[in-house]
Structures are given as structure tokens and as C-alpha cells.
Symmetry: C2
Subunit: 403 residues, 2 copies
């Protein structure tokens, strides 16, 4: 394993700090590999190990392309993609065992792209001026185990504050890198499951113990617009032996809005990697909205359920269900391996039941018909044993679903 | 120096994880001091080193007081204050040299309070489920060098993901703690300065070199609602030999709204600690608003300046200036040591000049009159050499201001 830490910095403005980090890392008998993500200027203080030209060229650009991208934002976006690709390459070629990134607002765009490129467990830390106040975590942290330290002051040279912060940040990244080289390889087989309230009972009460009995580890992901993407990120890294993508309200939010918006490619990683997968439409026939949004006039006359002070659940229309079903179909059609679809005939979510707030006996068959029509992997004549309500799913039904 | 790391966790639900962290820390020949921040239940898996009863009692409560606080939120708030006080005590008594906190949404409230209690340079890391997506950094990070790692999955036992994340988090905190014990004590004398656009030129061009010539280190803080609070936090920790609190638009935002809202106690730390301070009202006669907010009808007819696509500067009225001046006076009256007020007679900000967008020749004297009236430390007959525009401040004027 490599004993080098990549240092991600714009060396035209933060060369002094990059050099300081390199020297600190070297004081632990490790190497610091300076990657210059500056766009406009020549590096100062430090001789980068990876120049901005090399970064750009690896992605098929020249630095001139970036400078002339049209706007500062467009240039930073191009550099972001270049850094992501190059850090991935460095890791895959075993040139680095972790990274430290420094920066302000634009540096954070680059820092996130760099950290996104390293799999779970590979140390990654950003020291950032914007890691405070009303800035969003998504500015710096994606769907993996990224770490962020607040710089306290602007990154403008080495002084008593920045020295203290940088010394600790290097201590942290080196401390993590030394763990990494002790860690044993993963041996247990893991099953990833997307979960929300409705699916908690069958997953924790039935599926988890059954899978554990068979020697699997069960890892659940709270599918609220971040958890699903975290699961997908790990699926893409080859982490799972199987995936139960049950709680898929993110498909609704991605199409129609709501609180659980995820990445457009949600659900696809396991399917495209050929990981055995069961997909179900838990909560895929409702909108999960903020209390305020649920009051908009366009939702007048719909069935609603007040979940808690922040969240109101709202019914979907037949037209909306067709759109949602087509999205499921589009993703299922990408499957490279074994995949099953579990149709919860007696209700998609806990309130979708006769007498309860979100019963939708007319809508669910519309979803089903559209899915059969658009999903090439389901025969139009497919029959499955009637699957119970999602929340009462028995173990046997997992084996009787389609495809 | 202590060789113990505090482990902050609700041991009724996360006792297994707390025990795991303790064992990992011990594997580095350090101690893990488990602080149980659970409210409702008995600890599981682990025997806390500091019980929830001890936490509550140190702040004059019983756990029963917390349980019966009236709501979950109220109970967590009380526990937050108890944890803050206890962690401060542990550090001051040299019982810990850093901390690691774990938690979800409510755990993050506690984690931030714990990390807020440790001064700059003392290692602090939280492993959190909410360090992603649309959550705000302020949920976990205050005004110091706090560090946050995304947990990727819910904290529900030890599995291949949580083990990887926790191993790295312990590697990071131990790595930081070992830096700390190497670090030499601070020797240089530092001057903290609040800065925004207008003050950049006099500070960087005149004041910084003059102070450096005299052996001081100059540390500037971007006073946009976070930087000012960071400077105050360090002033409270005794970090500065002097403070130039020049860019004080946060006083306007705290009273009248805008983008630069800071803590209510903004500016007071240095004054109350008796740190020699010069206060100036840079940008304290304008509202710094979002482009949308500046369009509200209540600002019709005012002078405006389009700073950039996100920020519009809007003039203040005489009544508003009285409110702002009274706030300055209230804070200046708390001064325990030497303090001067610098009145930029020829303009509070770069646009406050004849012919420019925010010239306010009638308003500024209203500010001055109110300040003289309400600030006990300024004699009503005080005269100072006419101080130039804020942005053209010469070095000599720093010595000729009032008080």
C-alpha cells in the first residue's frame, strides 16, 4: 500500500499552505503528493507533483480550455471533473492512500469532487473556510465517509491559527492512513437494504434475522434522499452481495418533487453492476412533502396524512403513478444481473389500506399496468402470488416475486 | 497532559458503539472516557465513566428534571447545556485531551455543544448521520476547529461499514491528540481584526505591515456572520493581545436583519475580557441583503447598491441608525479594559461618499449623537481628529481616536 497522501490545493493562491502540509506529512515519514488545482496562475512556493496541465490533459483538456470555459463557475466545474478523474486514477494505481484538501468556496467544490473519488474507508479530509454557519454539508460531503475540519479563518498563509488547524488535520489524515494499513479485508457478505418507516418492521423483524441466519450482514440505509445514494455509492464500489431496494420514495421525489430528492441515477448502481437485487415500491405512490408545500392549491382535494409537524404525505394521481412506474421500468431495464420486482398488492405504504388516509385501490393497478408495459424484463402475463401489504411482508414472499 | 479522549454518546441506544470506540482508543495506549448523554434509558453494553446523573448534577439538575422537561426538544436542550459544562470542566481539569462524539439528529445537538466547549487546537471530532445533504454545518460546527465525519449509515451497531468509519475516526482523533502533545506553546502576540471589502485595503495595506513591524501577528476574520463569532470565540479563549473590531455590519444584521447575522453577544468577548480593542463602524450604516430581500416594498425609495448577483446593499434610516448606535454603546459600556472608538467621519463604507450610491451625510451624525448619548465611556464633548473614510484610514488615525 502506498505511503503517500495527496494534497489538493490551488497552488497559485495556496502554494505556501500546500508546501506546509507536505512538510508536515513528511515529518511522519509519509509522502505528500501536491496536486495543483489552480486554474489561472502559476504555482507559488511549491513545486506540484501533479501539475494543473497534467490534471487537465488526463481528462482530455488543456489548461487553456479551462481558463476559456466562459465563466469562473464553468472553469471550476471542468477542474472539478478533472480532479475527480485524476484522484480516482491515483488511488487505483496505488499512488495514494488518502487525501487532504484545502480551500474556500470554490476550493470546496474541488475538495468534494476529490473526496467523492475515494471509496469507503480510504481516508479523506477537507479543511474548509465554509464548514460553518448556513453552508450545506452537501457543499463538501457526498455519499461516503468524507471528513471536514473548519479552518476558523481564511486560508491566507501560515499563522498561529492555520498552523494549529493544519497540524491537527495532518495528524488526522496520517492517523487514519495508519489505520487503513492495519485493517483486514472485508470478509462477511453484506446485503444493502433501503428502509423507511413502513419497511422497518418487515426488514428488522423478518428479513434481517432470516438473512443473518444464512450468514449475511444486513446494512440498512434511510432512504430520505441521502441514504439511497449512499447505498448506491457502495453498490458501485462492489460492496454488496445483494441489494433489497425496497423504500423507493426517492423515485417519486425525483420525478414530482418532495423532501426525498436523490441523484437522478438512484437505484441504478446495483442493477448495472449485476448485483442480485429485489426492487419494491414502498412509499412509491405518495408524495412526501413539507407541511407548507402540502398546502399548495395543486394538492387540494387529495388524500393527505399528517406524518409529523414537518412532513405531510399526499396521495398521487393515476397520471403521476404512470410517470413513477415508467421510471422504475427504465431502471429495471438496465439490470445486468438477477433482479426481482416485489409488488405489494395490498398496499404500497402503511397508510395505503382500506379505511386509512392514503388508500389507493384504483391507483396501484395503474402503476402495475404501466410497469408491465414499459419494463422489458416483466412479461405482460406475469403472475405473482398476491404479495401482502409492504409493512406485513412475510419472508416467503421475497422468493415468490417476479422476474 | 491527559492521555484520555472523551467519548460522547447516548449509551442507552449507542452503548455498543461507545464501547467499541473505547476499546479502539485503548488499542493506541490511550484512555477512552465514556460520557453517557442518554436521557431516557439505562446504559447498555458499556459502563460509562461519567454517568448521565453526574452530567445533570454538575449543572444543578437531576436526570428526572431532564426527563420531565416537557418535550423531547426541551430535554435535549438541557442535556446539551449539561454536556457543554461538563466537557469544559473535564478539559480544564486536564482529564481529557480531546473528544469524539457520535450521533444522529439529536446526537448532533449534543456533539456540537461538546465540541464548542474545547478551545482551538484541542482535537474534536463528531461522527454523524446528518453530515450530508441539506443539513447545515451549524448543526454540528460552531466557531472553532471542529471536525465532522459522515457516518454513511445510521449508527446501529458494529458492522463492516460502521467499523470502518469508527476505526478511521479513532485514528483521526488519536492522530490529532498526538500532534497536540508535540505542539509548542503559542509565543507570538496576535491581533484579531474583523474585515470586509471596505476595510481590506487599510488593513492589508497599512495596519498589517505596521503591526508586523512591531512584532505582532495579524489575523483577519471575514465578518459575514461567522467570522466575527470565530474572532470572539478566540478572544474569549484569551488568544489575542488586541482586537481591531472594524467591520461591524453584524451589529446591523443582528438588529435589522440581513445576511450577516451573528450571535447576540457579537463584539463583547474582547471587551469583557479586557483585551485592548478599537471598534469602528465599517459598513454599520448599511443593510447587506439578498437580491430578493432588497426588492421588498419596505425598502422602496432607499439608496441601493448592487454589490454582486447575490448581495444588494441598502441605506439605513436615521431611526435605524439610532438603534444600531445604541447597540454599539451597550457593548462598549461592557468594556473592562482599554477601548477606543474610531469614527470615520468621511464615510462608513466605500460607497458612503459624495456622488456614490450610499452617501449618508445626514445619517452618520445621528449615529454619532446617539452613540455619545448612550455610551458612558465617551464624553459628550469628545473631539477627535476628523477621521478619514474607513477605506482610506491612515495609520496615524488609529492613535487619535476616542476614549
Amino acid at each position: 500500500m502506498s505511503e503517500a497522501i495527496a494534497i489538493i490545493a490551488t497552488c497559485d493562491t495556496k502554494g505556501e499552505e500546500a508546501l506546509y502540509l507536505k512538510q508536515r506529512i513528511e515529518s511522519y515519514d509519509m509522502d505528500g503528493l501536491v496536486v495543483d488545482t489552480g486554474i489561472l496562475g502559476q504555482p507559488v512556493f511549491v513545486e506540484p507533483d501533479v501539475t494543473r496541465n497534467e490534471l487537465a490533459e488526463y481528462s482530455g483538456f488543456t489548461i487553456k480550455d479551462l481558463v476559456e470555459a466562459g465563466s469562473r463557475g464553468a472553469a471550476v466545474e471542468k477542474m472539478r471533473d478533472c480532479v475527480h478523474a485524476y484522484v480516482k486514477k491515483l488511488y487505483e494505481e496505488d499512488k495514494i492512500s488518502g487525501l487532504i484538501a484545502i480551500g474556500g468556496a470554490e476550493g470546496s467544490v474541488i475538495a468534494r469532487a476529490a473526496m467523492d473519488a475515494l471509496p469507503l474507508g480510504v481516508p479523506k479530509i477537507a479543511v474548509s473556510t465554509i464548514a460553518s454557519g448556513k453552508h450545506l454539508f452537501s457543499d463538501l460531503i457526498g455519499y461516503n465517509d468524507a471528513t471536514v475540519m473548519h479552518s476558523v479563518i481564511d486560508i491566507l498563509g501560515i499563522n498561529t491559527i492555520s498552523r494549529t488547524v493544519f497540524n491537527n488535520a495532518v495528524g488526522a489524515i496520517v492517523g487514519m492512513a495508519k489505520v487503513k494499513s492495519e485493517a483486514s479485508d472485508k470478509k462477511v457478505k453484506s446485503i444493502g437494504i433501503s428502509m423507511l418507516g413502513t419497511t422497518t418492521k418487515p426488514i428488522m423483524g423478518v428479513i434481517k434475522p432470516e438473512l443473518e441466519k444464512r450468514g449475511y450482514e444486513v446494512l440498512t440505509f434511510h432512504a430520505n434522499g441521502t441514504g439511497g445514494d449512499c447505498m448506491d455509492t457502495l453498490a458501485d464500489e462492489g460492496f454488496f452481495a445483494g441489494v433489497l431496494d425496497f423504500s423507493t420514495n426517492e423515485m417519486v421525489a425525483n420525478n414530482l418533487g418532495g423532501l426525498h430528492v436523490a441523484k437522478p441515477a438512484r437505484m441504478e448502481a446495483a442493477l448495472e453492476k449485476g448485483v442480485p437485487t429485489v426492487v419494491a415500491p414502498d412509499a412509491a405512490n405518495i408524495l412526501v412533502l413539507s407541511a407548507e408545500e402540502a398546502l399548495l392549491s395543486k394538492y387540494d382535494g387529495r388524500q393527505k396524512y399528517y406524518h409529523n409537524p414537518n412532513i405531510t404525505l399526499v396521495d398521487t394521481t393515476g397520471e403521476e403513478l404512470k410517470i413513477i412506474a415508467a421510471t422504475f421500468a427504465e431502471k429495471l431495464n438496465k439490470a445486468q444481473g438477477r433482479v426481482k420486482f416485489l409488488y405489494p398488492k395490498w398496499g404500497f405504504c402503511s397508510q395505503d389500506k382500506e379505511g386509512l388516509a392514503l388508500w389507493n385501490p384504483d391507483g396501484n393497478p395503474v402503476f402495475l399496468a404501466e410497469l408491465k408495459k414499459t419494463c422489458g424484463r416483466i412479461s405482460p402475463s406475469s403472475k405473482s402470488k398476491p404479495t401482502s401489504m409492504m409493512m406485513n411482508l412475510p419472508w416467503s414472499h421475497l422468493r415468490s416475486c417476479w422476474m
